[in-house]
Symmetry: D2
Subunit: 469 residues, 4 copies
């Protein structure tokens, strides 16, 4: 049966032997047993296993149009508004598990690949474009229930407007050779979240400087020869769920991706050397509306989680009577109402796209992702302002396992909790807003769909189009 289990996911990744480096060492042995990957791979496995939960299966899967096997619903190519509604529900089932903290949960990348596959029409007949490879790849991923990550962005060497890379050895990943079997890529890509812990990696490049050799899209297995993942340090500071309730389970690790003369066979190449396509495919395809639909659905659950934490704190230390506390909670509730409403509007006003699929209305989704990068950090700030010194006085699990236990339960008690219970709650708040895991979440939401300084352009341009300005 195509949909895999968590065990299958883990066993498949453990066998790859992908080249991954972390803190000065190349990882040998099972990736799923490495300190830095254990927690997150286990969480990822849980998501795969949910597909087999009988109470959820009909919402998380559907029948393959080619094989009739059960396949993940995140692969569905939407034809009706109902399809969009079900997509959203599926995304939110997964997000309920990870509180919206996993940006690269499988349903995200499946949506991305699906969205591109919905858009093969855009590539049809264009120079050096292979829509049939993209379609085949989509079906392959769908039927194998592949885990995938992606990497889009070039290294951040020099971001001035007139910078042109000029180096003998490429920095940004570049095609340095083509032959009848495929292309050879050399250089690096800035960031792959979950890099190394997925079956495959999807690589796309805009060409900022007009060099066709940096205008491509392809996908390859993570263990392709010459491909290396250089991880940042792990933000899972320890395995104790008491101490690091979120980081220990949801730190997706980011890595630099190095292509050391990596060979990509033609059937995995979606386009090459077409600057126009490279610079417009993501904007003009269903990628943006369908991915944003997934993203905003996830953010709804994340917002709920932050609201739950905020209310739990307010309740714990009994501060609900203060007007400023009610203002702060209301700010969070207004955000939740707003993004839920925008998501609903995108579905309600969805329209048939020229490529034959149903496309969520773009304006409300663009609005949502202009709001979220500003409001997510504000929610984080609100939690800090509510919890205050409670975020500092957070002894570790071990401290509660000593002769001090009674004292700590007494002195750190809240209105209705013993010290241990209370510290547990405040450590969630700390891990969400102040640990390296938490701050990386904030940074992630700040920049999720691109440079906030440039993102305003999207909604502005949609308005102009609509009014024929």
């Amino acid at each position: 049966m195509p949909i895999i289990t968590g065990e299958q996911y883990i066993s498949r990744i453990d066998q790859l032997g992908t080249e991954i480096w972390i803190d000065g060492e190349r990882i040998h042995g099972k990736l799923s047993e490495h300190r830095a990957f254990k927690g997150i791979m286990n969480s990822q496995a849980e998501l795969y296993s949910m597909q087999h939960d009988q109470s959820l299966q009909h919402e998380l899967t559907y029948s393959s149009p080619t094989t009739n096997d059960l396949i993940g619903r995140s692969f569905i190519q939407p034809k009706t508004k109902e399809d969009l509604v079900k997509r959203r529900q599926m995304v939110q089932h997964y997000a309920s598990y990870h509180h919206g903290l996993m940006g690269r949960s499988p349903d995200y990348m499946n949506t991305v690949v699906t969205a591109f596959a919905c858009s093969t029409d855009y590539l049809q007949g264009k120079e050096n474009c292979y829509p049939e490879h993209l379609q085949a790849y989509y079906e392959y991923a769908r039927e194998q229930d592949l885990s995938i990550t992606h990497t889009f962005i070039d290294p951040q060497v020099n971001r001035s407007n007139f910078y042109i890379e000029f180096d003998e050895k490429p920095i940004a990943a570049t095609i340095i050779e083509q032959n009848d079997k495929g292309i050879i890529v050399d250089g690096a890509k800035l960031l792959a979240t979950q890099g190394g812990m997925t079956d495959e990696i999807f690589v796309m490049s805009a060409s900022n400087d007009g060099d066709g050799n940096r205008a491509f899209a392809f996908a390859i297995p993570s263990n392709t020869s010459g491909l290396k993942f250089i991880c940042r340090e792990s933000f899972a500071l320890g395995e104790s769920e008491f101490n690091y309730p979120l980081g220990s389970k949801f730190d997706e690790i980011d890595s630099l991706v190095i292509f050391d003369r990596v060979f990509v066979p033609w059937d995995r190449v979606f386009y090459v050397n077409n600057i126009h396509v490279a610079n417009t495919f993501a904007q003009n395809s269903l990628f943006r509306p369908l991915s944003l639909h997934q993203v905003v659905a996830r953010q709804v659950k994340k917002t709920e989680f932050l609201i739950d934490v905020a209310f739990a704190i307010v309740d714990s230390i009994k501060i609900e009577e203060y007007t400023h506390v009610q203002h702060k909670l209301a700010e969070m509730l207004v955000l939740q109402e707003t993004i839920e409403a925008l998501l609903l509007k995108s579905e309600h006003n969805a329209q048939l796209h020229e490529f034959g699929y149903i496309c969520p209305q773009r304006e409300p989704l663009e609005a949502a992702i202009l709001i979220y990068p500003k409001m997510y950090p504000r929610m984080v700030e609100i939690i800090q302002l509510l919890a205050a010194s409670g975020l500092i006085n957070i002894p570790t699990e071990n401290t509660f396992q000593t002769e001090l236990n009674d004292d700590l339960n007494h002195f750190l008690q809240s209105k209705s909790q013993l010290g241990e219970e209370r510290v547990k709650l405040f450590r969630i708040a700390w891990d969400l807003t102040m640990s390296p895991f938490g701050t990386r979440q904030t940074l992630y939401e700040r920049f999720f769909f691109g440079d906030p300084e440039r993102m305003s352009g999207a909604i502005y341009n949609l308005y102009k189009e609509k009014r024929n300005l």
Copy 2:
């Protein structure tokens, strides 16, 4: 036919002889010809006349359940989500005419009276409550197509927490006598927008200090003996549409309402001397959700108008290329998407209310009116920041009627407009954001649904209820 025309509205008001004072004089003669009322009464008349426009009539009216005559759709008591959608469309038809600048257009007050009539169940069986009077008044207003205003708030004498009015002569309107024919009211109410230019006035009072004589609701004709309307100065600074394109047409005049021993017959009294009802009826009835639905529908059109003005300025002086300009426009577009989405959500998730009518979901409406009082002033600010010095150099219509005409057309030209056309545009922006009319609009939106410092409580309490906290 019950729905009236503009002419009928004007003639009815002109005949009332209501006691209205402005700038030291009591108005005698036809109100509709007085400098301060001419423009706004004409606009109000246009709204009534729209009901007879054949292309709109089916959207603006429906058949009376009692007489089968055509009556205004703003009187409909919603039973289905479709009813809500049609309500919104009706409101937005009217708002398209007045750009959302008339807060007391007839559809607003009709909605208010209708909402209360939908809630007579709340009064049923409660002490000193007369639900049957309210029901009768609603039907009377509906079948006569009455124009109505309301006044709710007491004078702003002392707003400290522990203030209790203690004066021989009442300040806030108070029942000073009851007899078998009715009640006698003495004192004042702070504000009636459109006070004096409507057939009737609807008076409600919360009882902040626990005095049952200030716990009542009733409605009376504007020309009731002892009732006086003391207007602020007119913000229609002149009749030239070039100079005051908005103020000359839409200044609704606000007035202080004085009750000088005003007699109210029992059949016009909805409740008296019931502090609990007086303090909870507005919150617990359909008043809040149905009125907010009308308000947010209007604000959508107002927002559109401000966006149109902003884009026209950007286009006029050709500043669209600047990133900060795109940011500012995007802010406005995000607001528009947001409130449209919240309104849609309130309809989409509407539910049957215990009183038997369909009730729009409250949370998104409460969110909308927390957002709008902050964002409306921001839109005003954005227009000022975009138009800049263009808001200062705005010679009057007369100046263009002189030998200077060619010079002004030349020196004040914009990218694509002659000086006169350009100044016309910038005077709209000025009248919207900087004239006394415009600033009163801003103040109005800031405070429309109450003290912004206290309004957070509403959404917070809804959340608590939902989660049984």
Copy 3:
């Protein structure tokens, strides 16, 4: 005696016969008796007369270095920190009279001319520059106690980056002819505040498009042939001080300035046809630090005035107990402390400039004028949020002169004021924040020292210089 009286100022202006247009008419007769100019010219006259007040004279004047006569202290070329301190005190004496509401009080323009005269070294030896004319003009202005306005900005036709004016008839003022007697200027300048009600006008032009004919500086009498001032409508809505307590006295009227082949003799020309000088003189001379010093000194008094109004409102309706009220007042007090402190720092760290005069430290002044355009509108907003509906219920003076007087005094009373007194206070708040006069003040502060989008550059560049980056 060189320092003039208010009467002398008025009589001098009334005799000029300057060409001034307002609301479709050219003003004939005495300017000081025209409805639009009466109030402001009277206020200006008061400032001149203050020079003769024996208790202030030693602070407002000093002895002319050339004639030993008493001359205005705003003409002093500072040589010591003490000179700066005294300059500030002088500015604040004047500002105490006009509450900081007059941006073009004589001390401002005197400071501007003085600052340029302190910078003649910059022009020395540069092509087409006449530092000796500038020096002579400064001495002439000083010894005659001239009233002056300035105009710097070109019409706002098209503000895109790559716009080049290309029209047969100039729009922006341009030198269209030079001969041995002088230059002939044609075109317009966007804005002269107080245009027409001063003896002279000082004209400067940067050359945005590289045309040397728009690279000049000169000064001429207001009644020069061919010079026309086209006023916006008056924002003094009436003469009643009760109704328009600020606008009736301080509306400085702005005008478009048209140069219809205006002849300027060489001895009034400071430079021509030197693009580099035209684009750098204001930035590199003492103009910016000395003018900013005057501006910030004025803003300190304006801030004090707004704070006084805010506290009076709080006291009137007794709302000081609310935390949010204290927050809002504290915001205003923090601003006051901040700009006072920045001003003090600029004096405390003043240094000898290469041109031989003492120069206030620039960084704190640049900081102040980045803060003020954001905080002034916020103070305006705070006053509106505090006064709330009190800003709507503001019957006019005439209304209090009727049989309603007792009623209005009763119903509009505040904690400690009768209605009339209370309305008087709230009308000040209205005139300051919501009347056309008030909103023009807000716009003025928003843009006072240039486009807020570009102003950040100044402080950034100072920092870079200091660190040799």
Copy 4:
């Protein structure tokens, strides 16, 4: 010689044997060798050693009025404005070493003790007050160059307005016994930063609930019997300066302080059982102005450090040309100018206090600490917005010590730096804004001088006093 060296400081603390718990273990052995304390104690030692640096000694020390020995200048009781200026310079010398990151550097606590000693007049003649003990303690601390921490706040059990602790066993530290030798204290205090790594601890308590047994002030040695410090986990995530350039050196560790029937001899008690004094001493003494003067002086240096980091990032990835980047840097520079100016104003307008010492003007200091808790988090946000993805791709030191070194230097290079250098810079930014050390700094500045919701009261009250309102 009274001023001690770093070695003396370390050796004194190591000998105390104070009861300190961390992560489930009681620390035995030398505290200065424990992983969590090593870095910070070494930094503290550096500060003591600076006193012996010949180039700084005259600025960091002065002669004891009692012994003529050299003592720390932070103990000086200011009599002149010059004393305040020198105080500030001394504070900023120390802060230059720790970038303002040490809130409890010795000069802070010395200032606190000194400020209280300047205020013994307040205690004179009041019930249960011992000004002579306070004076003696000050002299003892000064002559021994004691390291001290303080703890003021009670546990955060229930912060509602009407909470009264009612438990058999005290939670907040409480006097449970008095006898002729001293008092016995039981209960806990919320937080002592540097708890355990100082010679002494200064304990003060307001009495929120009116229980005189919680109205006291005293100081005792850290190793007093029954006194326990329960630390949060260490935020020094490792010893590598490359990885944790700030946390490894400046994490001051916070701890809960438990008083298990702690005996305090009378000569160390400053007052007991005087609720009025306990609730007013900090506000009405020189504590607030003198401590704030120290704090703001430190914040000036911290701000400089953040600005340096921001400019280094801008320079590294070459983004200075963008307007939004200049805006962001300008925001930081404006803050720096502002707090420097406010500090200067507090010195410039300092006045003789009734207790005989010179007191910095309070208003500007109160303004500064209303600004800083809002602006510090904004600076943190700006650094994140500028550095963007550069804060994610930060391989550890070890990673650079592998065969990957060349690749990393190449792919992670910036405009002018090899990868290693560049990552070093971005890890500083990460440690400052996103590590647990960095986020605790942000929280610290948010709450440094109390609940931001209540702090507005201070400046508001000063204004009212000044105007006799």
